[in-house]
Amino acid sequence: MKTVKAIHQPGEWYKSRFDAFERSLNGDSKTALHELRREAIGRFQETGFPTNRNEEWKFTNVSPIAQIGFEPVLRYAGEGVTLEQLAPLALPGAHRLVFVNGFFSKPLSSTSALPEGIQCGSLASAVRSSHEGVGKYLGKLVKFDETPFVLLNTAFLLDGAFLFIPDNIVLEEPIQFLFLATGDAPALITPRNLVVIGNRSQATIVESYGFTQSRQYLTNVVTEMYLGEGAVVEHDKLQHESTSAYHVAMMQVNLSGHSTLTSNSIALGGSIARNNITTILDGEGIECTLNGLSLGTGSQLIDNHTTIDHAKPHCESHQLYKAILDGSSRGVFNGKIFVRQDAQKTDAKQTNKTLLLSDDATMDTKPQLEIFADDVKCTHGATIGQLDAEQIFYLRSRGIDESKARDILTFAFASDVVRRVHHEALRDRLEILVHERLSGGRAIGD
């Protein structure tokens, strides 16, 4: 493993990396995209990484990230990666886009069976071909300076997944964006994903993160998604990074009228993992469901921040975020709900439940409801607790030993989220992963 370089001024460190990158661009440095990158690095130089003084980062200290001189990955280097290495992550029956350290790999991907009209591939090539979706949405959905991590992602915006589905297409098979981290350098991996789903079109998108060897790297991903009128999308994210690595993600989804978004986010990996999801409900009759499951062990910190912005009337949002924390792991949930003055008849429900499996695990949970309309229904609830002694005794009194009783109950707590994933093969895989994690390798199914 290469030695990790300690740095004191991340702003200067990444600016120097950016300057080297810019010199390598030659003629390409005059594009609008590069202007955006330049602006982003300039702002990042000013802000640096957030500190605990920032309310949004109060419970999540990212100074371990700030102290490492990660090397931005600037080109594809996936020649050594084999399909066998992908097998544990690849979803059977799915169209697959594979990214190695954030860069698209054509040989490892398979999208040939997609219906005509769908654009599915690398963002870099969509940028090169000036695809209409790029001009219209790239960098337009996520607020440029939402967080310093968005700035850093934008500064090194080079590649990622691009999916464009025109109107009236129902895609049966899921599309998987598979991100693999590899190599032994402390890499800064900055995928940028753009998803545009046309009016009345339907799709399932699976975003998976995995790694080939345990090491320190930073995945700093930004995903922008636009749903047209009446579009129906399920987005399933499986974050299974190395527990030595860092994962910071920002996803923003802008929803048009009568569209439906279901997001299931499963977080297993990362020394520090921060997942931001922001949804803007910008039309009537929208249904937005955000579910999450975090499984923390060792000294992991898993942080989920959600924002649901009810901008228009007659929309529904449901959130169920669960965490199971073992060892000295920590969890954070921050759920913001805005109900704008115009958004009458909003129905918003937020639930956060945490199971603490050890005395040293901790959870910080914070609902944040800002309601400006008067005819709305908004509920929120949070519970933090341990396994129920009555339930354990009930199982034991029927002959099941204590450790298995605990496994069964813990898995049941998790399966409440996992069973919401519609795609069977993915659900099965998630169940196995959750089983493995919760039982520390013991099979508890039989």
Binding site: D388, A389, E390, Q391, F393, Y394, L395, R396, S397, R398, G399, I400, D401, E402, K404, I408, L409, F411, A412, F413, S415, D416, D446
Partner: protein
């Protein structure tokens, strides 16, 4: 089969059992009756191994072994079964999965192989008929959303599948209407054998019309105040429990 000697137990600093002595032999049905708060359910829970209660004195021998030394799961594997007064809801765990895990743990203890899926399903269907339980309750999470009667019948269904040597029914009759009561009692009666025993904990006599006990014991203030045959239950139905309470002058109450 079961020898309880001078059993004392408490929760926190409150003494609940104050010296219970009771013998149960194979083939017998014992009823334990008594007013609310007399310690009936505590006795049932202590026998099943609930650790919220601290045993402070006495002994319990079960088939010659020290019952109090065993974990709850060991007791179950040795053939002890408690039908809960308040069956616990377990969201996310199907009734079938729970029962299969329990049965296979017990079979393993007895040196038997796991039942395969077909054998298990056959057994389960047969036993469900015994308590007239709807098959849809198999795939649902344990007790979640079950009616009061379904929960109690589900307990007897579990008992039927696990085939205990000593079954303790803790107020299985409470919350049951007369039809459900008869179904539950029929189920229990069909499971009676020469080599097993049943302890029926109940507040009322009516269940004992259907499950006829060989012995009736009355608990008052944490000990057995009176024992007798099945006719004792009828006396209690008539006279209530007050005449058995030590701290009440018997004659002044009924004078």
């Amino acid at each position: 089969m079961l020898e309880i000697r001078d059993l004392h137990a408490r929760i926190g600093t409150t003494e609940i059992l104050n010296g219970i002595t009771l013998s149960v032999n194979a083939g017998e049905v014992h009823a334990i009756m008594g007013p609310n708060g007399s310690g009936k359910s505590t006795l049932a829970q202590v026998l099943a191994g609930r650790d919220t209660y601290e045993v402070t004195n006495g002994s319990v021998l079960y088939n010659g072994k020290d019952l109090l030394d065993m974990d709850p799961e060991e007791r179950a594997r040795e053939g002890l079964f408690l039908a809960f007064q308040y069956p616990v809801e377990i969201p996310g765990v199907s009734n079938t999965y729970f029962l299969k895990s329990a049965l296979n743990a017990i079979r393993k203890h007895r040196g038997l192989d796991d039942l395969d899926a077909v054998e298990f399903l056959q057994l389960v269907k047969e036993k469900m008929r015994l308590v007239q339980l709807d098959e849809t309750l198999l795939s649902r999470p344990v007790n979640e959303g079950f009616s009061g009667g379904e929960k109690k019948r589900n307990e007897i269904f579990h008992m039927a599948v696990l085939e205990p040597k000593l079954a303790i029914l803790d107020e299985t009759d409470s919350g049951l209407d007369i039809d459900a009561l008869r179904i539950v009692a029929d189920g229990v009666n069909k499971l009676r054998r020469k080599d097993n025993a049943v302890i029926v904990v109940t507040h009322y006599q009516r269940l004992l019309n259907y499950i006829v006990p060989d012995f009736v014991h009355v608990m008052v203030d944490g000990h057995i105040a009176k024992s007798g045959g099945k006719e004792l239950a009828l006396t209690l139905e008539e006279r209530g429990y007050d005449w058995l309470k030590e701290d009440v002058e018997p004659m002044s109450v009924h004078a």
